[in-house]
């Protein structure tokens, strides 16, 4: 096998001598009668655009597997998710043309970097585009992004301090994920992407069509038993797709206030992997909020007070000014706004 990628493939910030995920994967897949080698072709700082040039120097055989996991550095170079995904697909096709009998495209793992704060896109979006593009190109796909996100408090527990590279535990998980992929072991619930309406959308019609897309590149989505939910309750849902990519749609038709759209989805593994979670909250047309409900979450509570406190004393034009905290609309966030919030405190908008 050849593991192709950037510093995450190289194993940066791993414990000394551990060799990142490729060395671990080799150990996991080897048996007393079969030695699997995984060549580490990770280059620090590399983007997918640069990888396309480097891959021309590699070649494989019909029994060789190429794993492509790259794209994190593209984010810092302002390359869009669509171009990153396009490059990843080109890398996979190039690998096949270079003789590799099996090519696996992997989503990038999440980043939570504070040192790169301010980038205009996220690893979540890039992973979503890689899922979509590898599905459209009918490529074998692993999903370490989903594996990492499903870990509790993953940034704090399985990452190095730079929030880009995994720590030794993170590399263990990454290697296990790839090993599961090659052993056809499905431990992951479907991933969700491309939700409509947008999170925190306002003025949404009460008859809006709710939609989200599920991906499951292993056993596939259980389309008959995957539903959208509104405020935790399943609604009548249409599921269309090929199992690997499934579109869930529902039109409840009677939405009011600020509903939460969620998901209760499972795959076809035995036992099934199930994902139950709230996904987005949005505001329906005509919803009336209490004045003190600054964050428009339906309640006047401590969160609203925090927003007002941070903006307290600011005037319109200041970087600290929050227009919604200026409850009396007098151009400044002051004591009169605090009094209005206090009057509503503890009440619900709906």
């Amino acid at each position: 096998m050849v593991a192709f990628g950037d510093s995450i493939t190289r194993g940066d910030e791993d414990d000394p001598g551990r060799g990142g995920y490729p060395a671990r994967l080799a150990a996991l897949l080897s048996t007393p009668t079969l030695t699997v080698t995984v060549e580490n072709q990770g280059v620090g700082g590399e983007t997918t655009a640069e990888g396309l040039s480097r891959l021309n120097s590699l070649s494989g055989g019909a029994n060789d597997t190429l794993i492509v996991m790259e794209g994190t550095n593209d984010i810092f170079r302002d390359i869009s998710p669509q171009s990153i995904a396009s490059n990843v697909v080109s890398l996979a096709r190039r690998g096949a043309n270079r003789g590799f009998g099996h090519v696996v495209v992997a989503t990038i793992i999440p980043i939570g970097s504070t040192s790169h704060e301010g980038t205009a896109q996220s690893s979540r979006l890039v992973a979503a585009e890689i899922r979509q593009a590898s599905w459209a190109a009918d490529l074998d796909q692993a999903d370490p992004n989903r594996t990492f996100r499903d870990q509790d408090d993953f940034i704090a527990t399985i990452y190095d301090g730079d929030h880009i590279h995994p720590n030794a535990t993170g590399y263990d998980i990454l290697a296990e994920h790839f090993a599961d992929h090659f052993r056809d072991v499905d431990k992951l619930a479907p991933a969700l992407d491309f939700v409509s309406p947008a999170s925190d959308a306002e003025d949404v019609p009460p008859t809006v069509l709710l939609e989200l897309v599920l991906f499951d590149a292993q056993t596939g989505v259980d389309m008959a038993n995957s539903k959208l939910t509104i405020n935790g309750l399943a609604v009548e849902t249409d599921a269309t797709g090929d199992g690997r990519r499934v579109v869930l749609q529902a039109r409840p038709g009677n939405l009011t206030g600020r509903p939460t759209m969620g998901l209760d989805a499972r795959d076809l593994a035995d036992p099934p992997n199930r994902r139950v979670q709230d996904v987005i909250t949005f505001t329906v047309s005509g919803a009336a909020f209490l004045a003190g409900d600054i964050d428009r979450d339906g309640r006047v509570d401590g969160n609203d007070l925090i927003v007002l406190a941070r903006a307290f004393g600011s005037r319109s034009g200041s970087s600290r000014f929050v227009a919604r905290a200026d409850l009396d609309d007098n151009g400044s966030v002051d004591g009169s706004d605090l009094a209005l919030l206090a009057a509503d405190f503890g009440l619900s908008s709906f």
Binding site: L52, I79, S80, A120, L125, D160, A198, I306, A311, G317
Partner: protein, 340 residues
């Protein structure tokens, strides 16, 4: 052969980067933004702390924690930075002007239309701020391009240069002021099929519709850079040629772009224009050779002399060049190379 790693950096710059490095046991300091066209001021980030470094190589000021800088410009003895900071309801712009060790925040453009604002690009007109372009939207992956004029005291009401596309997004903003006073903003934007390079021209009457810098194609075009020239402007970017990326360039003449042409070899990437004593030059990455390449340009964009430096992809160098060669500055080391 080009590289002679011997020349020490100016002592103050070594001291600056050395002191910053000593504060971090793991991540090295990196240059977050730099003014390649005027004076060489740049911003170094280390463990989340951002320092403006003046052209003398000495730290000029420390910026507030939590801001991220995307654009910096030298204005006479002063400098300007533009970036963003996290806010309770999204991400907001940040502009500041500095002189000596003092930092003064500038008021923000009003009339915000999206909860996320990103990647402001400063445009300067001689020794004054002309305005800034930035990305704005309600969610990641769906940004409009906006512009606000600076009247000397405040930003005027923002104008939409390019609305949010139906699918995909717009990224990688670059902007400049043309010799005739118009403003040129360029960016990479999704056209429903792949990313293309777009541009818009602005003057006192408003902004043109977004123009394609090169004819539509079915391959990604990414990371544009722009520089004003006496007769218009040059735009360089990287275009996938079906096998690899390579740097392409188009010239703006009047209000139209002349035919784009390949400027770099296969594997050339991430162009930026650099103002040097040898004239305008193009800095780009050569992924095949693992080198950075500096190419002098004529006013109409024809390539001239080239110099190269072997260095990692992460180590985008600062460059100074004259008729005899190029000084490359990379963190705590420097190198000199002669022109090919």
């Amino acid at each position: 052969m080009p590289v002679l790693v011997s020349r020490p950096l100016p002592p103050l710059l070594v001291l600056t980067l050395g002191l910053l490095a000593s504060a971090s046991a793991e991540a090295a300091p990196r240059i977050e933004a730099r003014d390649a066209g005027r004076g060489g001021v740049f911003v170094v980030v280390d463990e989340g702390a951002r320092t403006v470094v003046g052209r003398s190589g000495a730290p000029s000021a420390t910026l507030p924690r939590g801001v991220a800088i995307s654009s910096v410009a030298q204005l006479g003895e002063d400098w300007l930075v533009a970036g963003t900071r996290r806010m309770p309801a999204g991400r907001e712009l940040y502009f500041a002007r500095g002189a000596g060790g003092a930092v003064r925040e500038l008021p923000l453009p009003a009339g915000r239309s999206g909860r996320l604002r990103h990647d402001p690009a400063l445009v300067v007109d001689g020794a004054r701020l002309a305005g800034a372009a930035w990305l704005e939207g309600d969610r990641e992956g769906a940004f409009a391009v906006l512009w606000a004029e600076w009247d000397g005291e405040a930003f005027l009401a923002p104008a939409t240069v390019s609305p949010v596309p139906p699918t995909g997004t717009q990224l990688a903003l670059a902007a400049t002021q043309l010799a005739d006073g118009r403003r040129l903003v360029v960016w990479a934007g999704y056209d429903g099929e792949d990313d293309e390079i777009w541009a818009a021209l602005g003057d006192a009457t408003g902004w043109s519709r977004p123009l394609r810098v090169a004819p539509d194609n079915r391959v990604p075009d990414i990371t544009p850079a722009v520089v004003a020239t006496p007769g218009g402007a040059l735009v360089a970017w990287s275009r996938f040629d079906g096998e690899e990326y390579r740097v392409a360039m188009a010239r703006l003449e009047g209000s139209r772009f002349l035919a784009a042409r390949d400027l770099g070899p296969p594997g050339s990437l991430f162009p930026s224009f650099e103002a040097t004593a040898a004239g305008t030059a193009l800095l780009s990455r050569d992924a095949r050779r693992g080198e950075w390449e500096l190419t002098t340009l004529s006013a109409d964009g024809r390539p001239g002399r080239r110099a190269r430096l072997v260095a990692g992809a992460d180590d985008r160098p600062l460059v100074r060049a004259d008729g005899s060669g190029v000084v490359w500055e990379l963190g705590e080391r420097s190198a000199i190379s002669s022109w090919d």
